[in-house]
């Protein structure tokens, strides 16, 4: 949480007076780490409470993912070899599309009441907002995966060996985390734009495609019973990308929200 010690960067006006005294020097400081944690909890609680009352995101996501998987599975041949080859693609298409839907909706409520303006006046809340929105999107995508993964594998008749299960979970987790992080940042960037829903996939997919391709590769290796070492190599690369996305995303998110 870098904002507990560092001020948010802002443009200074041309001709503005030099800082007469540094705010830090006179004892002005943003809240600490414990406040950030509390803010994350409150923001997650707020979105969860709203979702429990409206149920619009979860319902839409699950029906959308279910429909996509069912259509894909029924349009494919029942050949076992073909099923093994396409299963990872079906899974990741469902995850990417449902994820885009969840990410797109994550700032809808902030946009409706223009509450981002109220939030940026609160010390250090931008990082907390990033963490909260990322956690919520991760939760939504986990729900989607809990439905989509067993359903796809069962309907296509593809089995996962016990020793490969961990690798499959690793691929799903690292791919999903990276997709959600970068999607949350891009969604925040587009929050002030009226046709955000159209722009989000256009901006998100080119950035997320390498990660999605790696996810498909790692999942294919598991489902086609290839050597797991190759699968774990992809998982490690995706985990490294996730770390870069996490720190880059947290930094970018602060800038993006401050400039809204």
């Amino acid at each position: 949480m870098s904002d507990s010690t560092q001020p948010v960067r802002r443009r200074r006006a041309r001709g503005a007076a030099e800082i007469l005294q540094s705010p830090a020097a006179i004892g002005v400081a943003p809240g600490g780490f414990s406040l950030r944690v509390k803010q994350v909890g409150l923001l997650v609680y707020k979105d969860a409470l709203t979702e429990l009352r409206t149920r619009d995101t979860v319902t839409t996501l699950l029906f959308f993912a279910l429909l996509m998987v069912v259509i894909f599975v029924f349009s494919l041949s029942a050949d076992e070899r073909v099923a093994q080859q396409v299963a990872s693609g079906v899974l990741w298409i469902a995850i990417a599309f449902a994820g885009t839907l969840a990410i797109d909706r994550s700032f809808t409520r902030e946009q409706e009441g223009n509450t981002l303006t109220a939030l940026v006046l609160i010390p250090g809340v931008t990082r907390a907002l990033f963490v909260a929105k990322t956690l919520l999107n991760l939760f939504y995508l986990t729900l989607v995966e809990l439905l989509v993964v067993p359903l796809t594998l069962t309907m296509l008749g593809v089995s996962v060996p016990d020793d490969a299960m961990l690798c499959l979970l690793g691929a799903l987790a690292t791919g999903t985390i990276g997709f959600v992080i970068i999607g949350t940042v891009i969604s925040a960037m587009l929050v002030a734009i009226r046709r955000r829903g159209v722009l989000l996939p256009i901006v998100l997919y080119p950035i997320a495609i390498p990660l999605l391709v790696m996810g498909v590769e790692a999942t294919s290796i598991v489902l086609e019973n290839q050597p797991l070492e190759q699968g774990w190599s992809w998982v490690k690369i995706m985990a490294a990308i996730d770390v870069v996305y996490l720190f880059g995303g947290a930094w970018l998110f602060g800038l993006v929200i401050e400039e809204e």
């Binding site: 006006a13 503005a16 007469l20 705010p23 006179i26 943003p30 707020k46 409520r109």
Partner: protein
């Protein structure tokens, strides 16, 4: 109990704001052309002007949400028991909770109740849960929303939403309060409640800047009026014995 004023650490209380040569350009349009103003605590300043005069732009610059293209904004702040002069925007890079803002939009969540909205924002400012709830209930009562606290904001009228927005802006006990059209949608009772709140804020030593086209404000609510015309200050003073409407028309003549 922790008072809202002492919530968190490292807070600053703004006692005066000095604007010099503030200009703001949007694309090719120069909306503000060099505003000089001195604003001090315990003062309620009314910004007047026709549409496009630059009132909201100036308020957004005071809120530090919009940087000026040119000019300086220096604040005299009290922190750690002493007064210091700092650049307003430098101060805002560290924390902005000295600002309470009511904007055109309500800045609250429709799917939460009024009380949930206020306790959420109070919690985000760092108030402990019991203090947050007590502060939220007090403000709801002060603004005539005591009975509506448990209703979802989606069911609120425009005037109730406006009063809730004012309550939200005052949660953290800010010292610089910026109100853009706070009387919009208010009935006579709501209007009186907000006027009473403004008087109280002055007594508490807050600096209040408000924009309104409501020129029938009681004399004792406004200390000073500033008329903007095409991005510059056309008149700055107290209407005195004149009615606000006549004083304003004279400034535009």
């Amino acid at each position: 109990m922790t008072s809202p004023a002492s919530a968190g650490t490292g807070r600053a209380r703004v006692k005066r704001v000095r604007l010099r040569g503030i200009a703001r350009r949007f694309s090719r349009q120069l909306v503000l052309r060099g505003i000089d103003l001195d604003l001090k605590q315990g003062e309620i300043v009314l910004l007047l002007g026709s549409n496009g005069a630059g009132k909201t732009t100036l308020l957004r610059i005071l809120s530090t949400l919009l940087a000026p293209t040119r000019g300086s904004a220096v604040a005299l702040v009290e922190s750690d028991g002493a007064d210091h002069e700092v650049d307003l925007f430098a101060l805002a890079t560290w924390r902005r909770d000295f600002i309470g803002l009511v904007s055109h939009a309500s800045l609250v969540y429709d799917d939460l109740t009024g009380l949930e909205n206020l306790t959420l924002f109070a919690g985000l400012y760092g108030l402990p849960p019991d203090v947050a709830r007590s502060r939220a209930e007090t403000l709801l009562g002060d603004l005539g929303l005591g009975d509506a606290g448990d209703k979802r904001v989606a069911a609120y009228s425009r005037g109730m939403r406006q009063r809730l927005s004012i309550a939200r802006a005052l949660l953290q006990n800010p010292s610089l309060i910026l109100l853009d059209e706070p009387f919009t949608g208010l009935d006579q009772a709501g209007f009186r409640i907000v006027c009473q709140m403004l008087r109280r804020l002055r007594e508490e030593g807050k600096l209040v800047v408000l924009i309104t086209h409501h020129l029938t404000l009681p004399d004792d609510v406004i200390d000073r009026a500033v008329v903007l015309r095409r991005g510059v200050v056309a008149r700055d003073g107290n209407p005195g014995s004149m009615s606000l409407a006549s004083w304003y028309e004279e400034a535009l003549a």
